[in-house]
Symmetry: C2
Subunit: 437 residues, 2 copies
């Protein structure tokens, strides 16, 4: 089974934990069976592993998220990185080209596209086998999962079924995109489902759709012509134009935990991090800073602190958050999870910036020279090997490394390595970020 | 006029802004006539300057607060530092010895002792002249200010007057220390006053009381024998044993803003620092961190963030704060205001600690060598002169300085100087702090 997981989105609704790099699907707010913290993307990944152990998963994403995906899902995960942010049709087309040209998947094979961020149960993914049957039997061009609605809401799109094809399979009459609540209630009465954004189709059908738009004969050709692909959603380009669409119903938990309020509903009275609390009621607290947080007698609020900022909000009003985050001046993410560890901005001054870099033990990283600024690295803790140009040496706590602009350098963490980086330069550019590879 | 201002106390009730060094009287939460931020001690100092422009003010304090007092009141302020924390009688006796032996003040002169932290009006300090008249006329041994109570409270001590000596001056019958509210209401009916902790007396009387306890003939002798002085409050040792006590009433604003709740009453809807807020109601916000804070639809709460921690508390429950702060493990202050600038802990690791040091332009500092740890200084911004042993050199942004343990060093800030300090060592001791002199 070939699954394409779509990972995108910027994270203003769960600010300050989410930012342009760390979208909501990467926040480690959930707890797995062993009591370890996990993110939604990690949960989705392991849920698929349970129901579809033989599935090959490809992540379609953008460059900003590639590092955090590797950090959370492992270095060997198959990633297709879009050269620029367009829409879901180009992103899915590029992932399909990758599967056909680079993974030698037959154009007759069923492909499944899933968003990576719904909060659902294992049972949801078992439904994929039913979609597979439909596509393989060629009784529909596109097969979807329809979620049995729990309440009328204007947050989701609706799938309106017509006749039953087989037991538990319906042909689709039409789609209604985000209706008002009154209309939603009417649709539910008529038997409509929430659109879970899950699509199954034959690989060849999407390649043909892409080829009718742009001419290509291998992955790299499509990659280079990516900006010529129509900037349109998969729903509008493919699904709404398909002649034969089938929907398979799913009844069970399925939520978009895209706001603090929905998160608190799933995990009431959460307190993560260095938190002391007393007499709190319906209070959701996450503290990612290394300083203590005390909450006393708070009620119906979310309190979240990260290197990017601090939020205190009434839970029911927290859905308004995005507009206020939009007004903040500094949008540079202060915290980044990387495949080699973590990077946190500690301070910014007139012509310098101070960061804490954490390299996990065993990680081996070489990097591109930066263009404008000089970096000073002081080893705050741990040991490793450092190569500057052709010189290689062992580094330990207290060592000072000076990297002038243009100098190539490599670092290998023998034990967990904490480095304080002071970046200085008259032309200090936020984009002059080291690219570790 | 000789005034002794008592500055002490640790600051758990206004955590995380206050800490063992920065007591509540040093928090710059008030606004002066020119719109600049000022602390209570700065406000008290300038209020005295208005009503008693010729007064000489001596600050009786402990070593931890000496630096912040100089930073806020100027290098030339007269400070007497107690060699160890005892109680108010020893502290006042030491300040009196300083005035007699080192400032050549006559033992017949009236001395005024004032706490530095009440939030009051200029009029309050005009009352000192009335106390002075009483002490100079020798109609009482001790003269006090009695504040006309605004409501019955168990927070303060009460002064119960007896007969009128002169218009506006009463002899004192007795004192009642922190009665319950019912008793307080009864005392107010009987004409009792709040005890403002202001004492006037003749210098010689306190020197004699101290000499009956410890033998000394100059300031240094008393300083060395400080631990032998009775550990007792000035109230118990002197005031309650005095034969002739007079009280002068004061009617007007006078508050102990020792909790977030009383602070919010004085300054409703305060928002200091990097704060965005919307639809907040009766919300007091102070953000001393360099990251944005967003408050949405909060009600009756205090939100405070500093390098020491984050507090979110219902205002009326915030008086319970101290007991929860007492349970926090790390009590090392993360932020310190010094006479040369500021010091903030950015991070702590296994065998190292990272600080941001800010030296204000023009400050010239030499320091003691530290015993156990090596310090690396990276100049993040600004320029200055640095002397290590006998070598003096100019330092600019990007320079790296390594100071091994035992090495004497001096620094002079030419412009505002921001330094990142990485302190490393196997025997990293929190008390191994540089002493700048």
């Amino acid at each position: 089974m070939q699954i394409i997981l779509l990972s995108g989105g910027s994270g203003k609704r769960l600010w300050p934990l989410s930012n342009d790099i760390r979208s909501k699907q990467f926040l480690k707010l959930l707890t797995d069976e062993n009591g370890n913290k996990e993110s939604i993307v990690q949960r989705t990944f392991s849920q698929i592993r349970i129901t579809q152990p033989d599935a090959h998963i490809t992540i379609a994403t953008n460059e900003a998220q590639a590092d955090i995906i590797k950090s959370q899902l492992g270095q060997s995960v198959d990633i297709v990185i879009e050269p620029e942010r367009r829409d879901t049709f180009p992103a899915i087309a590029l992932a399909c080209a990758h599967l056909f040209y680079e993974k030698n998947i037959s154009d007759n094979e069923a492909i499944f596209v899933l968003p990576c961020d719904p909060f659902t149960e294992v049972e949801f993914f078992r439904t994929l086998s039913k979609l597979e049957k439909i596509i393989n039997a060629n009784t529909a061009d596109i097969a979807l999962i329809g979620i049995k609605p729990l309440h009328p809401t204007s947050k989701y799109g609706y799938i309106v079924p017509s006749s039953e094809i087989e037991p538990g399979e319906y042909s689709v009459s039409h789609f209604v995109e985000k209706p008002d609540e009154e209309k939603a209630a009417q649709l539910i009465k008529e038997g409509a489902y929430w659109n879970g954004g899950v699509f199954a189709f034959k690989l060849g059908s999407i390649l043909n759709a892409a080829k009718s738009n742009v001419d290509f004969n291998n992955f790299n050709e499509l990659y280079k012509k990516y900006s010529e692909l129509q900037k349109i959603s998969f729903d509008y380009k493919i699904v709404e134009n398909a002649k034969r669409i089938a929907v398979v119903p799913y009844s069970g938990k399925w939520t978009d935990i895209g706001t603090w309020c929905t998160l608190a509903e799933e995990m009431p009275e959460t307190a993560l991090g260095l938190v002391t609390r007393k007499k709190t009621h319906n209070t959701f607290i996450v503290n990612e800073l290394n300083i203590p947080l005390i909450a006393l007698s708070t009620k119906d609020v979310v309190i979240a602190a990260s290197p990017d900022g601090i939020l205190v909000s009434d839970l029911s009003e927290s859905s308004q958050l995005k507009q206020f985050v939009d007004t903040l001046e500094n949008t540079q993410p202060m915290y980044e999870e990387r495949h080699w560890g973590e990077s946190t901005v500690l301070g910014k001054y007139a012509h310098s910036q101070v960061k804490h870099l954490y390299f996990a033990a065993g990680k081996f990283i070489s990097n591109q020279p930066h263009k404008y600024s000089t970096k000073i690295w002081v080893i705050a803790s741990g040991e490793g090997n450092f190569t500057l140009g052709c010189d290689r040496k062992k580094i330990v706590t207290g060592d000072i490394l000076k990297i002038e602009y243009g100098q190539k350098h490599k670092i290998e963490a023998i034990s967990d390595l904490h480095i304080i980086e002071i970046q200085t330069g008259n032309k200090l550019d936020e984009n002059d970020i080291q690219k570790f590879e």
